[in-house]
């Protein structure tokens, strides 16, 4: 069983990211479940979403406290929410940022980074003030998480992504290539 926690802001597509990731895992003949933290979603306010992927059916219906992966859709959240909370010792953090690993101040051994915002805006996904980075970030995620290969991520996006499906798929593919860091 692998457990993923997404950190984003209202309007950036964190919840859809968890859904598309789960759909990709199911397409890969795995079992998956995706759910948001049911809070008061406001555009811009911090939002958390979760995804469980496993070989056997997933029956647990509670939040994820010790994730294997943490995905941060907006690096400005680092200053506010403790995104590393409960991350397993060998867990991996994937962060959307245009900066280098060293100067985003994440004290963790396994950190991957990708500039999903620039990629998303390049494909016209969202706006300058509210970029939609979810498809780019799950493209990058498949690079760090072997259980969900890129082909299934693209298949999931082409089937269920909101907005322009091919542009979203292209963003995911480019982000997959652009991931940097050691994890």
């Amino acid at each position: 069983m692998i457990e993923v926690r997404f950190h984003g802001r209202g309007g950036q597509g964190a919840v859809v990211a968890s859904e598309l990731l789960a759909r990709a895992a199911v397409m890969n003949r795995l079992h998956a479940a995706a759910f948001p933290f049911f809070g008061v979603e406001r555009r811009g306010a911090p939002v958390t979403a979760f995804c469980r992927i496993d070989l056997k059916p997933i029956r647990t219906h509670s939040e994820i406290y010790y994730p294997d992966y943490v995905v941060v859709l907006d690096h400005t959240l680092l200053g506010m929410t403790d995104v590393l909370h409960g991350l397993k010792p060998d867990g991996v953090v994937l962060i959307n940022t245009s900066k280098e690993t060293c100067d985003i101040g994440v004290k963790w051994s396994r950190v991957a980074i990708v500039d999903a915002t620039t990629i998303a805006l390049k494909y016209g996904l969202g706006t300058e003030s509210a970029p939609i980075v979810n498809t780019a970030i799950i493209g990058a995620f498949s690079k760090v998480c072997p259980q969900v290969p890129l082909d299934y991520i693209l298949e999931s996006i082409l089937k269920a992504s909101p907005g322009d499906k091919s542009l979203n798929a292209a963003a995911a593919k480019e982000a997959y290539e652009a991931v940097k860091g050691e994890w």
């Binding site: 008061v40 406001r42 555009r43 811009g44 306010a45 706006t127 003030s129």
Partner: protein, 300 residues
């Protein structure tokens, strides 16, 4: 010389949870400037109750009593009755609810309160759909507007009925004062709220309150779009008292297209639809001007 055109005191705190650019929060800020501290507000579960923040914090600096969706008018009556029997005077009781919460589910309680001549001000912040639950059509959703329950499709063309004429309904029901206000004209809000405070019986304020996520506009355009509604005659500003109507701002000068086309919820409109809306707006505006012809002067 720089001058303040509005009272400086604030009765709403920073840090509330309104969306960026929320019209209802800006409205409440200026309504409260007109109301002042001796005010008790009751509000149903709606955007506005979420905007006030999460327990143990509250955004307003006046007492608020929360209640279920349909009973704004009833709770206001209860508060006023208790104040009266307890001999507590010069307190303004204010029911503050959204469009759906007023013209749909809350209409019965409001009609009862008016019928009982309950002495309170009812402020309806009209963002033209059920926004708290994620943009579903209400009785105040305009003709042809998109919402998540009027998505349009091969069989239908988004919202298929015009806004409920709530002001006319409540005038017949017996309000002692009615007024329309908009977040684009704060001074007008404050003046009309102050006037309403000094009138006995039920006073109804219909406030246009833009909603960036619901109207599909950028948060930065929130005030500008509300202003366009008045400049195009879609949402005229006027008052009603003792049978007479008075126009507050006779500034209809632009085609409705200017207002409609800056909003994502209207981007599917055809030329015919826009023309139909223009005809309706022109006719409505002329009818209002005719009624204002015979009335008393304006408050502002």
């Amino acid at each position: 010389m720089p001058k303040f055109t509005l009272p400086k005191e604030e009765y709403i705190s920073k840090g509330h949870s309104g969306c960026a650019g929320c019209g209802a929060t800006l409205l409440a800020r200026h309504v409260l400037k007109g109301l002042g501290p001796r005010t008790i507000i009751n509000a149903p579960a709606c955007c506005w109750s979420v905007v006030q923040g999460v327990w143990p914090r509250a955004a307003l600096k006046v007492p608020v009593i929360d209640h279920a969706f349909e009973c704004t008018g009833a709770v206001s009556s209860g508060i006023r009755a208790a104040l009266d029997i307890k001999g507590i005077e010069d307190v303004t009781v204010v029911g503050f609810a959204g469009d759906g919460g007023t013209v749909d589910i809350g209409l019965q309680a409001l009609s009862g309160a008016i019928d009982r001549r309950t002495d309170f001000i009812y402020v309806m912040y009209d963002n033209e759909a059920y926004m708290n639950t994620g943009i579903q059509r209400s009785g105040c959703t305009p003709l042809y507007a998109w919402t998540n329950t009027t998505p349009g499709g091969s069989s239908c063309a988004c919202n298929e009925s015009p806004k409920k004429r709530i002001m006319e309904m409540l005038i017949e029901n017996g309000i002692s004062y009615g007024a329309t206000v908009s977040i684009a004209y704060p001074e007008d809000i404050v003046a009309k709220v102050k006037k309403a405070k000094n009138i006995r019986g039920t006073k109804f304020i219909h406030a246009l309150s833009s909603c960036p996520p619901g109207w599909k506009i950028s948060p930065a355009k929130s005030v500008e779009v509300a202003r366009l509604a008045t400049q195009t005659g879609v949402f005229p500003l006027y008052e009603y008292e003792d049978g007479a109507f008075a126009m507050s701002k006779d500034i209809k000068s632009r085609p409705v297209e200017d207002y409609l086309m800056v909003q994502g919820r209207y981007k599917h409109l055809t030329k015919e639809m826009i023309a139909e809306i223009q005809r309706a707006v022109d006719a409505g505006y002329e009818a209002l001007k005719a009624k204002c012809g015979k009335g008393a002067g304006s408050a502002v």
